[in-house]
Symmetry: C2
Subunit: 227 residues, 2 copies
């Protein structure tokens, strides 16, 4: 395999995607839809976190959800049943990430009329989704306690592009060697501006703080403030 | 972004890599080195599992380890310090997987003289590493209890290409809604031939069974039996 050739292809794909993502961000701004891109490893609790958070927010703002997965549609059904908000499944056909055009196609499948917040639950993967700008207004990720506090050292790009890091499954912290201080320090090393909120999606701990963060960031975005 | 073009590029990359992986498998057969490719999500316990398993095996066979990571060299140092076996770090330069040529380059960094077993700890990712044949004799993956028993439904390719699935962190099963029977059933749905071994790398539970699996499969491979 010719390594140089691949790098060139990747570069041109990235350039094209970055331009397209900026176009999508402008389109969404015109429509008044704040797009939140939620990323994490497989099994860190993205769907459970979304359910708790949507239930805390749905009386205040109108929400729509895109659940991206390589296969299966269990998550979109779960979200719909547990929250009642509009929810669709995107199948990536084996792809490990979503780019701006795939996100645009997903958004076309939603009724965006009056929607304040569209959430994209990205493919479970700490590597590739970080490389592709989806056109989101903000990027958010979940790191769960069982994954270990050293992950910012090993997956630098993901932590460096996220505006917010949720530390999930705090309820099981006593059973793992997870050091929250060390983890926060590693995250700040990758991204000094990242905000960090410890949560437990299952018990609801910290979910109100995440909901407040969303409300605050939508307001800033509407007022054209750099959040 | 032109979706069709990308698919074509991916197809040609896959074809080239498959041929190269077969060549590498033959080269390793001639050298008598059994290559085990170990994959999983970030934080599922690959390095801890390797340390326990290598310590159970190192008096019986000669082992060398390649630790692949996007960044950092903490894992190679950990393996070396905890087991004493030859261990090197491969940096993928942002790449989300290893292909056959990258694996070959890694193997060149090892002294393979008299080595019976070379272990490749792949990048933590349930998607992309499954798409690239590394030239390994056998593929093995870890799914950890906190990730959830539904993962074979969501990451079908990874489960379908693995000869062995280790279910790790069994010690914390009481704190998670993890159903081992359901998980085994989903794995078999993806891959009827997959073997499944529940383990706890931290306490050592089940590690002897994984060590036996390795010894048995090296023997079969040497005798040219289809394991």
């Amino acid at each position: 395999m010719d390594e140089v050739r691949i790098i060139e292809i990747k570069k041109s794909i990235f350039d094209d995607n970055d331009k397209d993502a900026n176009r999508l961000r402008e389109e969404l701004k015109t429509k008044g839809v704040f797009l939140l891109n939620l990323m994490s490893s497989p099994g860190s609790g993205k769907t459970t976190t979304l359910i708790s958070t949507i239930n805390a927010l749905k009386d205040k703002i109108k929400i729509a959800v895109m659940e991206a997965d390589i296969d299966s549609d269990v998550d979109a059904i779960k979200i719909k049943e547990a929250t009642g908000v509009q929810s669709i499944q995107l199948h990536t056909g084996g792809m490990c990430h979503l780019d701006a055009e795939m996100t645009r196609q997903g958004l076309r499948g939603l009724d965006l009329n009056d929607v304040d917040l569209a959430i994209l639950e990205n493919v479970g993967n700490l590597v590739c989704p970080a490389e592709f700008d989806t056109g989101a207004s903000k990027n958010c990720m979940i790191l769960s306690v069982p994954e270990g506090h050293d992950k910012p050292l090993k997956y630098p790009l993901m932590f460096s592009i996220c505006d917010l890091v949720l530390i999930n499954k705090m309820d099981v912290a006593p059973y793992f060697d997870f050091d929250l201080d060390k983890c926060s320090q590693y995250i700040k090393m990758r991204n000094p501006n990242a905000e960090i909120i410890p949560i437990c999606a299952k018990t609801g701990e910290g979910v109100d703080k995440f909901a407040d963060w969303i409300i605050k960031n939508i307001a800033k975005w509407r007022n054209n403030e750099n959040a």
